[in-house]
């Protein structure tokens, strides 16, 4: 239909998970009362001066290393001037022409294919405050002002809204792996500006682009980008001109609309910030950080498939979050049954974490306890019902699996004599079901098994019960 294709570049702002701000000692807690985490520096008071947060520099370099960037051992901070109420100094301290990181790439998976989105640069800057609008007045909350912010800029290497999503998800996962940000979208840790243009298919040139500002949910980015791509494709198809402008996403109307045109574009008047010395990194330090990098999730998935013999699907689920994968590997390494460990983590563990809105670090179960639990199931000490119960207790309170089995008397009943009694009683109490089974209604066996389990208080070995029932009913 259309002979035009979209070309997209993303600028992602990632708030770094440092405990203090970029240029002062103020805390960076999200939910604090308005203007309770401020000082003369982050309020831009006369005479105050910035002092760079070394941890933020380190985190940015670690992020850059995680993304395969070249690290500039010499970089500097610049002032970017524009007036806005949420900007305490009316200039932002950022990095203009000598950022900490250059190049790099993010590999994305889409519909079974993988491709590479090249990065242009990563620079470190300070976040702004937040304007808050009331019925008749407005206020500014400066708690966020000065929070360290990384801007990760891609090349125009993205060709659909879905690819943009895949990129952002991969980027988020990598930043979580690098341990440099909470990447909490609700708290604004991860925000996106989108540059979008269209061009005739087969052309290498870039069309006139629009910029969509400050999108902060994945859903919003996808919706805004989808709308903008369609808008531009329609304009191009009808031969209309596309104007270079900044557009905003109107969530309620589901459209993008002009915010400011090229004519109103700012002249930011960048110049090196004379309050700050250049950032000079020692090569040895950067090498040390590189050595400390965690294994990237894609490589880890491949290795885990190989090492533990688990399905690709399992490995994908497990590596999604680094802490989950770490937990899994520790448990799997002390268990002869890594697939069973994977099942427990993917089902019970993830279910309980999501039900209770918890992080894995907050659960009390240890990898060793899970491995032990898997062993108790495999050696038939526990049946699956009891094992789930034990898992729940381990998750909630911690401890050793064997101790819980002991304390709760959950050891599976495989004693033939005892099972005989339960089976006989179940048949006697349910003559209709027994008859149904003999008449060929195999479903009745399940019902009778349930009765036996009830009589055994859930501890009967289901396999033995099934065999006994079959033989007694003449199956």
């Amino acid at each position: 239909m259309s002979n035009y294709e979209p070309v997209i570049g993303l600028e992602t702002h990632v708030q770094l998970g440092t405990s203090s701000k970029m240029f002062c000692g103020c805390a960076t807690d999200f939910a604090a009362a308005p203007n309770s985490q401020v000082c003369p520096v982050c309020l831009g008071y006369p005479g105050s001066l910035p002092v760079p947060n070394e941890v933020a520099v380190e985190y940015t370099v670690r992020a850059g290393l995680m993304l395969g960037c070249d690290i500039n051992l010499y970089s500097k901070f610049d002032r970017k001037s524009y007036f806005y109420p949420d900007m305490p100094k009316n200039y932002q301290i950022t990095q203009y022409d000598m950022p900490l990181c250059l190049a790099g790439a993010v590999e994305i998976d889409l519909n079974g294919d993988s491709r590479v989105v090249r990065l242009r640069r990563i620079h470190l800057e300070e976040d702004t405050g937040k304007n808050v609008h009331f019925a008749r007045t407005s206020g500014v909350d400066f708690n966020r002002a000065g929070t360290p912010l990384m801007e990760i800029v891609t090349e125009p290497d993205i060709y659909s809204a879905d690819e943009a999503m895949a990129y952002l998800q991969a980027l988020k996962q990598l930043m979580l792996y690098a341990g440099v940000s909470e990447c909490n979208l609700e708290e604004g840790n991860f925000r996106c500006d989108v540059n979008c243009s269209v061009r005739p298919v087969g052309s290498d040139a870039l069309g006139v682009k629009t910029e969509l500002k400050n999108l902060n949910t994945f859903k919003g980015i996808h919706a805004a980008l989808s709308f903008e791509i369609d808008r531009q494709l329609n304009l191009a198809a009808s031969g209309a001109e596309i104007h270079q402008e900044t557009r905003r996403w109107d969530v309620d109307a589901g459209i993008t609309a002009t915010m400011r045109t090229k004519e109103d574009a700012h002249d930011y008047r960048y110049f090196p910030d004379p309050d700050l010395a250049p950032i000079v990194l020692a090569r040895e330090q950067v090498d040390r950080w590189r050595d400390e990098l965690p294994e990237a999730p894609r490589a880890r998935r491949v290795r885990m498939i190989e090492q533990y013999g688990i399905p690709a699907y399992d490995a994908g689920v497990l590596v999604a979050e680094k802490a989950i994968a770490d937990f899994y590997e520790e448990a799997a390494q002390s268990s002869p049954n890594p697939k069973a460990v994977s099942n427990w983590v993917m089902t019970e563990m993830l279910r309980l974490l999501s039900e209770r809105d918890m992080q894995i670090a907050e659960a009390h179960i240890t990898p060793a306890a899970l491995a032990e639990l898997v062993g108790l199931v495999d050696d038939k000490t526990l049946n699956s019902n009891s094992a789930r119960e034990v898992f729940g207790i381990l998750f909630q309170d911690g401890g050793r699996a064997a101790d819980i089995v002991e304390a709760r008397g959950l050891t599976q009943v495989s004693d033939e004599g005892l099972l005989d009694q339960f089976v006989d009683q179940a048949i006697a109490d349910n003559p209709d079901s027994a008859g149904d089974y003999r008449d060929g209604k195999t479903k009745a066996l399940q019902f009778l098994m349930g009765q036996v389990m009830r009589l055994s208080k859930g501890k009967a070995n289901p396999q033995s019960v099934q065999e006994l029932l079959r033989s007694k009913l003449g199956g």
């Binding site: 003369p40 006369p46 105050s48 001066l49 007036f83 500014v140 008047r269 910030d273």
Partner: protein
């Protein structure tokens, strides 16, 4: 009591230590002098009498309880650009109406720890932009030697207060000569430390890469005492370097034998007032008589210094002063229909003409299309100027120059001609561009009985050396003992 105020910090400290006077006596004497003289001079922007006396009482009490800090209970005047907790800090601008500093500048905190008292805030050119203290919203300050003349600027209030005995000592700031030139115009000692010697934390920035805090005092020894307290690395200012702070007073004394002093050819050119040149030449001869070897040297890029200075300083100022927007503190003009309109109205009402001129200049030199031609070029020339100095300091211990081409001029005589006022910075702005130190010491008078200053310029962190030279010269003359008639 009144002559007490004209004495050196060392003398006063000794009297306090011996119990021959109290800090309350000193502060009362000061307040009395301010009452009797400052009506004519307007050296001060504000004085909080009750607070000053309260500080003095606490100092006396501490002393009676065994606190023997050298400088305990000695008052110092502070240029109205430095933040002192609980005091206004208007920078002589309407735009900071109502602002009360919530914190101490590092230099202030160190002086406070050393026991000094902060009695009042001195007048200045608005945001330190000017060389005459005429660009002040609170009115002009007058020169104690001749009230028809300017005291120099921008630290004109500090210089006038010290010269008139309305302050024992004062802090000023120097971006292109703003300590040294008023010190010369008012006949006192003014020291601009090397860039990075004194923390700028709490100094309301005019031009961040040029600003330094320094003392204005009756004598060189006093300047050394104040520098000793305020110098040294500060975790709150990463441009303030961790370089050893020597014992500055230990360096004082002795003659100038074995010292080579350079006379930069480019600083002794046509256009210098004949009386000023004569006084400075006399001082050079005196230094020679004290044993110094005098050599002529060249600083070939001097002619570009003023334009380089005005590009860099205004560029930095245009960003530094952007924060004065009416949102968080200070003046907010009414009637803004949106934030941008409010900024415009506030800044139009809050800034004076010279400040607006420099913000516009700075905005222009940084703007797209002009940035390289002005700002980038100026940075390159700055490097050349710095190298000029590096080269001469390979063969000289220090340089001797006039502080300014003229002595104090009459009020209003230059204020309508910004360019000619800018040219008055020619001998001082170079030290700021090069990041080196320089001190102004009194070296005579013009035929109109106006003081003339000798500038002694030293390499980076050579404050001990220039203070030693200044001290040797000062002690061999009577100039520093002369006081304006009252």
């Amino acid at each position: 009591m009144s002559e007490l105020l004209d004495r050196s910090i060392g003398d006063i400290a000794a009297l306090l230590a011996r119990g021959e006077c109290s800090s309350v006596d000193l502060v009362q004497g000061l307040l009395h002098r301010i009452d009797s003289r400052d009506g004519d001079l307007s050296a001060y922007v504000s004085v909080d009498r009750d607070d000053a006396l309260g500080q003095a009482q606490r100092a006396d009490k501490a002393r009676s309880e065994g606190d023997h800090r050298d400088l305990l209970g000695i008052p110092i005047a502070v240029k109205d650009i430095l933040n002192v907790t609980g005091q206004p800090c208007t920078c002589a601008s309407r735009i900071l109406d109502g602002y009360v500093a919530p914190y101490d500048a590092t230099a202030i905190a160190r002086l406070r720890d050393a026991g000094l008292l902060f009695v009042g805030r001195t007048n200045m050119d608005e945001f330190a932009m000017g060389s005459s203290t005429e660009n002040s919203t609170v009115g002009v300050t007058r020169n104690p030697w001749n009230t028809a003349c300017v005291p120099g600027g921008s630290s004109g209030g500090s210089a006038a207060a010290v010269a008139a005995g309305e302050a024992v000592a004062a802090l000023g700031t120097d971006t292109g000569g703003s300590i040294r030139q008023p010190a010369a115009f008012c006949g006192c000692v003014g020291l601009k430390p090397s860039y990075g010697r004194v923390s700028r934390y709490g100094l309301t920035a005019y031009a961040s890469s040029l600003d330094q805090i320094g003392p204005l005092t009756h004598c060189v020894d006093d300047a050394a005492r104040i520098l000793q307290v305020i110098a040294g690395a500060d975790p709150l200012d990463c441009t303030c370097l961790d370089v050893v702070v020597p014992d500055y007073r230990a360096a004082l004394g002795g003659d100038l034998s074995g010292i080579r002093l350079g006379l930069p050819r480019e600083y002794f050119v046509q256009g210098i007032d004949a009386d000023v040149e004569q006084a400075v030449r006399g001082a050079i001869q005196q230094c020679e008589a004290l044993g110094a070897e005098i050599v002529e040297v060249s600083l070939p890029h001097t002619e570009y210094a003023v334009s380089t200075y005005y590009i860099i300083a205004t560029a930095e100022a245009s960003a530094n002063l952007a924060r004065f927007d009416g949102v968080r503190y200070g003046l907010r003009a009414p009637g803004g229909k949106d934030p941008i309109d409010m900024y415009g109205k506030t800044r139009a009402a809050g800034f004076g003409d010279e400040v607006k001129r420099r913000i516009l200049l700075g905005t222009y030199v940084l703007s797209s299309g002009y940035h390289d031609a002005y700002y980038v070029t100026a940075q390159k020339v700055r490097t050349l100027i710095r190298r000029d100095f590096e080269k001469v300091f390979e063969s000289c211990d220090a340089l001797l120059t006039p502080v300014a081409p003229t002595a104090a001029y009459r009020l209003g005589s230059v204020s309508d001609d910004p360019l000619s006022m800018y040219l008055g910075d020619i001998f001082t702005a170079t030290a700021n561009l090069a990041g080196i130190c320089a001190v102004a010491v009194p070296c005579g008078f013009t035929s109109d009985k106006l003081p003339v200053g000798l500038q002694i310029v030293g390499g980076p962190y050579q404050e001990d050396r220039i203070l030693q030279i200044a001290h040797a010269y000062e002690q061999s003359t009577e100039w520093h003992t002369m006081k304006p008639e009252r």
